[in-house]
Amino acid sequence: MSANLPSHEKAIPWIWLVLGLLGACALPFFITNYHVFQLSMVLTYAIALVGLNILIGYSGQISLGHGAFLAIGAYTSAILMDKADMPYWMTIPIAAAVCLVVGFLFGLPALRLEGHYLALATFALAVSLPQLLKFKHLEFLTGGVQGIVIMKPEAPWETLFGLKLNSDRWLYFFTLAVTVVMFVIGWNLIRGRVGRALIAIRDQPIAAASMGINTSMYKSLAFGVSAMFTGVAGALSAILVAFVAPDSFTVFLSITLMVGMVIGGVTSLPGALYGALFIQFIPNIADQISKAAPWAIYGIMLILFMYTMPTGIAGLLRLIGQKLRPTHP
């Protein structure tokens, strides 16, 4: 956002945001509970994609293993709810903290590697975590292969402003609130010192180092923060689905996250939302198009998106926005 734009141009994005938020709040009362559940899942993916974006887009690293942090966040939440009888909303910040630490600790050694080697290291994380979750000596905590069944939280009030609340709607609003908070945190991070340092490290690592930026510390921090976002998403999804199991967190999930991020638009906060919509709904649409080989349709769509929108959906929308904006003399 350039400071040279006249004030009414700066105001436009805010109007869209407010309208969007109001629309999002009104939505659950017009659609079925099942769709409300789906949208809640979309929001959790969006939070995870913001996290991934911080790492890959702004920090220039790669991760093929972020599903692992979804798992850690989800299991943290599930274990606390199941074994410590903790209320669901309290588990979210704890899951965030756990993932921040784990991500940072993983990043410290792993980020000595670059490119393909880092990809392998993150891939290894995604592959090992389900094994750890099934490990018999950790079974008392993780439930082993059986996973953990959680009680789905009920809405605290019967009605809100005269409109009926049920578990799905309540959880949707809860998820929406957390999403807004996480997006705001993400936005501040990217616009602030940390974000600028990350972009410097991404684009000119050697120059950044010579400017006194502690590259390895910042890179590990980026990993930790990105893991934190994904952990929050995982915790939310555990509450929504009310069940966690090692089978829920396969390598394909990690790959899906990365695909969602690229399709949504790298280095773009709204891109996280578009990407989340893509990974939630496109497989269902593909299934409707072809029952015989739905994933082939999905793959074709991936490739077509990359041909037509190399900067992602967010990039495309940005281009359209630029073309529509009247040019200044």
Binding site: S237, A242, T250, P294
Partner: protein
Amino acid sequence: MKKRQFTLTALCLSLAGFAMSASAQKKYDPGASDTEIKIGQTMPYSGPASAYGTIGKVQAAYFKQLNEQGGVNGRKINFISLDDGYSPPKTVEMVRRLVEQEEVLLTMGTLGTPSNTAIHKYMNTKKVPHMFLATGASKWNDPKNFPWTIGFNPNYNSEGKLYGQHILATKPNAKIAVLVQNDDYGKDYLNGFKDGLGAKAASMIVATASYEVTDPTIDSQIVTLKGSGADTFFNITTPKFAAQAIRKVDEVGWKPTHYLNQVSASVGSVLKPAGLDKAVGLISMLYVKEGSDSRWDNDPTMKDFKALIKKYAPEVSPDDGNATYGYAVAQTMVQVLKQAGDNLTRENIMKQAASIKDFQVPMVLPGVLANTSPDDFALFQTIQMVKFDGKTWVDFGKPVTVK
């Protein structure tokens, strides 16, 4: 006076008759109507468990043919089977769609232990019949706490127990090695097996090796198990790994008494790829007829089955154990629907499912009857142990009742 009495009595009788027929009127819950019955299902058509997708395909073909022949009690079956990729969150999403959007009457044959665990509570809270689960985990037989869930497969736990008891009875000094898939299903079998061996389990089992579904081979595990010096082998593996194990055991020159779990007992999809000669002597359990068994060549239901898949699902092989299994489940479902008649409420469906009396499912082995009662939802209580003779499974001993 008499005439008036007569008309009054006649009026009363006809009114009573009217009232009776009113109570025998059609009753429907969402998903049922005069013309159709909606049945939902989730099945892994993609992902690591996609080989089981055959089950859903055969069932879809069965219902399609049934509809062409008039359906059940004049109603067509609208069978909606969705892919969940064996991922529990996806199962939850798809089942919610089936129940809340498609408004199915019931679900049939949802596959996978973790997938079904994820929707277990939901189905019972929503009071939607969660029927004939395609998994043998022991937790599905719990009518007191989960009255809307009824399994189909004979219990994995009971089958494992049966083998354990058999070894105790026939080879009390056996040294046992176990290969087990590292998930819920594998653990269920292993626990039952240990129960069957009782106090001697710890001393008799000399080696246990596990593997992941994502492992490429289990060669190393077989080498370890052979090296333990065991003379008996309990093979708890799914089809692909069972075939690998049977072949590798032969390759390394190990000749134990080899027990194979029923899940992988299919001649067509496991023993043939492994090599029929290598599978001689294998001990397992059967309850569904095998397509490759020449005993059933002239059996009417087997002939129907082979004609069905030839016409509607030609890519499916008649030797595939999953195919005959799917057929058997569909037949049982139709029986329950027939019993329900015009009272197609969810409550009545469960009532009928809980009162199956000595029903011989045509695709199930003769003599293995389906029986349920309100406190016991386990359909098949008798299991027939079988031994492989190089061509087909041969009955081995008498049918055993398991609980």
